[in-house]
């Protein structure tokens, strides 16, 4: 077959972290190559090297018999490599057409012929089945339309190798199917596609060949026709991971009740919360399922005291809550594990011990009545918390940003558990973690449940939610369904509810 790209023993490390080690593979003309791997396996780093964002420490990449100049995206683009990033790189205040020509010519160029560009664009739209209005403002486009535009942008620049980084993450099943149709057309036209994903089913349906990355190294390579779900899964993880099992538990009394909550703000990205009712019981996990962006963030903010409902009441153990501050909710016994642990959880530039005692700063042993901090006691306390929760570290004094994602999450959950909270609000507690850390987080949450905590988990992975939760409610467009017990749960029904079935139109 006709080889278009050859990667020769590429390695890349960031400080001590080896992101890619000795990676070699090739891509043929007219082929879809899927790159699979967990978060942190090195997929994105590898693609950023290919596209010219990063400089590899060593190795060589040959594209169309030409060596790629590293660290120069302009060079990669002009050679014919295009990349559609997971987070789009579009200018919202320009039209579709302007976004396409923005990198090619200056928009202030008087001689710029938009007409010619438009003709070329329309041909591409026809040829690859990517319907879009060239004169529409990008800010008015939907997520899938924006993605189409990103693909068109690369095609317009005569790309021959297209890199798609997690393209289906924000798409509905129908949109995914239409994207794959386009990919098939592109392959027939002789283009090559590298697809980065962690969704096994999609990879099996669209790719010709699969490469699995693990810990920065190639763990295996398979022809898609000879691959199956199970063998790929074990290749990705590298070992069998045992997940803790949920035990039978009898729920205790009601810890928290939210009554007819409404919430909206003018400057809000998330949807409004409408007439939401919710009860949390001790020793029970309530899972909140839903497609991202249906009000989950606001729900979490409301229950953790980061926002005040515009209407409605929250009761904790039958007492109405009147003061909506994070501090007050903490004092009432709420522990909040935020979705973005690096932005809202950890302070990376402070030491591990300083981060660990952050929620305990008012403890009399940590700061005395004049407000002076007792370093010795604080460090011992931090050591203890880290040890109990299996946070792996070299020194308690090192900056917290050196911890891996799993250890960060164990530290964050651990320091909250140390306060003996009554209620735990966990948003996407396992997002982006490796399988071992996921199992550890599950264990921590299930243990807290056995100790009688009331727990709310907001998640996107339905299977994970079902395995952890006692009950599941679905959130859709700011409305919350009544809870369903997870024993004998109809998964199909939950899926339908996630796309809005059973909810009124506002």
């Amino acid at each position: 077959m006709n080889q278009i790209l050859e990667v020769k023993s590429v390695s890349k490390s960031f400080g001590n972290l080896v992101a890619n080690k000795d990676i070699s593979f090739n891509v043929n003309k007219g082929e879809v190559l899927a790159i699979l791997g967990e978060n942190g396996a090195g997929k994105t780093t590898l693609m950023n090297i290919l596209f010219g964002h990063y400089m590899p420490d060593n190795g060589e990449i040959i594209f169309k018999n030409q060596s790629i100049k590293f660290g120069n995206t302009g060079n990669s683009i002009s050679l014919g490599i295009g990349m559609v990033h997971q987070h789009f790189t579009l200018a919202d205040n320009l039209t579709v057409l302007e976004n396409i020509i923005i990198g090619q010519n200056s928009l202030f160029n008087i001689t710029l012929s938009k007409k010619e560009s438009k003709e070329k664009l329309n041909t591409l739209i026809e040829k690859f089945g990517l319907p879009i209005n060239p004169d529409a403002m990008v800010s008015d486009l939907s997520v899938s339309q924006k993605q189409r535009l990103e693909i068109l942008k690369t095609l317009y620049q005569d790309c021959e190798l297209l890199i798609l980084d997690e393209p289906t993450a924000a798409l509905t099943p129908q949109e995914t199917e239409s994207l794959f149709k386009t990919v098939r057309k592109m392959v027939i036209e002789g283009l090559s596609v590298i697809l980065i994903s962690h969704k096994l089913n999609e990879v099996l349906s669209i790719s010709n060949r699969i490469i699995v990355l693990r810990n920065g190294k190639i763990a295996g390579e398979k022809i898609t026709n000879h691959a199956d779900y199970k063998s790929l899964a074990s290749l990705i993880v590298g070992k069998e991971v045992s997940y803790p099992k949920k035990k039978k538990n009898t729920p205790k009394g009601e810890f928290l009740r939210a009554e007819n909550i409404f919430y909206r703000t003018e400057i809000d990205l998330d949807v409004k919360i409408k007439n939401l009712n919710l009860n949390l019981f001790g020793g029970e996990i309530l899972g909140i399922a839903g497609v991202a962006g249906n009000g989950q963030q606001n729900l979490a903010k409301l229950l953790a005291g980061h926002a005040k409902p515009t209407d409605g009441k929250i009761f904790m153990e039958e007492n109405e809550v009147n003061l909506f501050t994070p501090k007050n909710f903490m004092d009432l016994g709420i522990a909040y594990i935020p979705e973005d642990r690096n932005k809202d959880g950890l302070i990376g530039d402070m030491s591990i011990w300083e981060n660990t005692i952050m929620t305990e700063i008012e403890n009399q042993n940590i700061s005395n009545k004049f407000g002076f901090i007792n370093d010795t006691f604080s460090k011992e306390k931090a050591e203890r918390i880290c040890e109990i929760n299996d946070v792996r570290l070299q020194s308690i004094n090192q900056p917290a940003r050196l911890l891996s994602g799993g250890n960060v999450q164990k530290l964050l959950i651990g320091r909250w558990l140390n306060r003996n909270p009554k209620i735990i609000i966990a948003c996407q507690p396992t997002r982006g973690l490796d399988e071992g850390a996921i199992a550890a987080v599950h264990k921590m949450l299930l243990e807290a449940r056995e100790n009688g905590n009331a727990i709310l988990i907001i998640g996107e992975d339905l299977d994970e939610l079902i395995s952890l939760s006692d009950k599941i409610s679905v959130i859709y467009n700011g409305q919350l369904s009544a809870p369903l017990y997870t024993d004998n749960l109809d998964k199909l029904k939950i899926g339908m509810m996630m796309s809005g079935e059973g909810f009124g139109n506002d």
């Binding site: 400089m55 953790a304 809202d344 929620t359 700063i361 407000g371």
Partner: protein
């Protein structure tokens, strides 16, 4: 073209932090040599004159330290604020607010014995500086108004207010027509600490506050909160730290330090408020803080260093006939060199060979 890349150092040594500013200052002086050469005189001679002018005699040392006094205080003001990523560049206005407070309370309105009068003047000066900053913090917190803009513009408002008061209602009738305020009463004047020089008690106060701020920032819960809010306000609030309260404390401390610089100048150096009370001490304080890496004890050293350049450059310009503006140039180059050195402490430069 030479390709290079910055890589974070894995173990940052403590000594590198201490030595780096000195190397940076040395390099800055080397660069400044060229400018002195352009002025047509010998750099070595000039630096000698500069050194003699700033440290060469009892009087010179006293003059340098008395110039360092307001610089240390405004340097502390910038250090505290910048630690919390609150970009207070209004120390100049806060300094004048402190001076106004001293003139209001200290020229006869309130009379106390010296031992109480001096702390009282420092207190009202600090409160005035802090209160000036407070509404700006609230504007930032509730309406997201950028503090760089508001603190800078407040400087002009305060300075024009001073100008109005000194030309009008507060003008001292005994001043023979000069725009200056009434003299601070004798009990409020900061006494000399070296006889027959201008060095006054304010210098001791500035050292005392630097130590106090250092203890507060490194050992106290307030310092911990300032650090947390400065690095990541969102995470701090998610962990239950009082973010707004912390920023308010920062504003009061920062404005307070700058206000006290106004106290030392009004009640110490001059004895009364004038329009030229500060030749930009508020802005120079930013350079002092940067030079010190925002460390309160470092502020003492860098304040004295900057003062010595300013004082010494005057002497240099007199005897070598070079413009005294060289002092500003030397200070600016020094700050730039120190900032570069801070980057090099954090990161090492890895050469990647020249590209094709």
């Amino acid at each position: 073209m030479i390709n290079f890349r910055l890589e974070e150092r894995e173990n940052k040594s403590f000594w590198m932090n201490v030595i780096a500013p000195f190397i940076a200052i040395f390099i800055a002086l080397l660069i400044s040599c060229f400018l002195i050469l352009l002025a047509g005189v010998s750099p070595l001679e000039s630096y000698k004159e500069l050194l003699i002018g700033s440290f060469g005699s009892r009087n010179a040392i006293a003059e340098t330290l008395s110039r360092a006094t307001p610089l240390i205080l405004t340097g502390l003001a910038a250090s505290i604020a910048f630690k919390a990523k609150f970009w207070n560049i209004g120390a100049e206005g806060q300094l004048y607010a402190g001076a106004l407070a001293v003139t209001f309370f200290g020229t006869g309105l309130i009379e106390l014995p010296t031992i109480l009068m001096i702390p009282f003047l420092f207190l009202v000066g600090a409160v005035a500086g802090g209160l000036l900053l407070l509404p700006l913090v609230l504007l930032k917190n509730y309406y997201k108004v950028d503090e760089v803009v508001t603190t800078l513009l407040t400087n002009f408002i305060v300075i024009l207010l001073v100008s109005y008061l000194l030309e009008g209602p507060w003008k001292d009738p005994m001043s023979l027509g000069w725009p200056q305020g009434a003299s601070v009463i004798d009990q409020g004047v900061l006494p000399q600490i070296v006889a027959r020089t201008r060095l006054h008690l304010g210098f001791i106060f500035s050292i005392f506050f630097a130590v106090l701020i250092w203890i507060l920032l490194s050992r106290h819960i307030v310092g911990y909160q300032i650090k947390a809010v400065g690095f990541n306000p969102s995470a701090a609030s998610h962990s239950g730290l009082p973010v707004l309260k912390t920023i308010l404390i920062v504003a009061l401390l920062s404005g307070g330090m700058a206000g006290m610089a106004g106290v030392t100048e009004t009640a110490g150096l001059k004895g009364y408020l004038t329009l030229d009370l500060s030749p930009g001490f508020g802005y120079a304080g930013i350079a002092v803080a940067m030079l010190a890496g925002l460390h309160p004890l470092g502020v003492i050293a860098s304040g004295i260093f900057l003062a010595s350049i300013y004082v010494g450059a005057d002497a240099m310009s007199r005897s070598m006939n070079v413009p005294s503006y060289l002092a500003d140039v030397i200070v600016a180059i020094t700050v730039l060199c120190v900032l570069v050195s801070l980057v090099l402490i954090q990161f090492k430069v890895k050469l990647l060979g020249s590209s094709k």
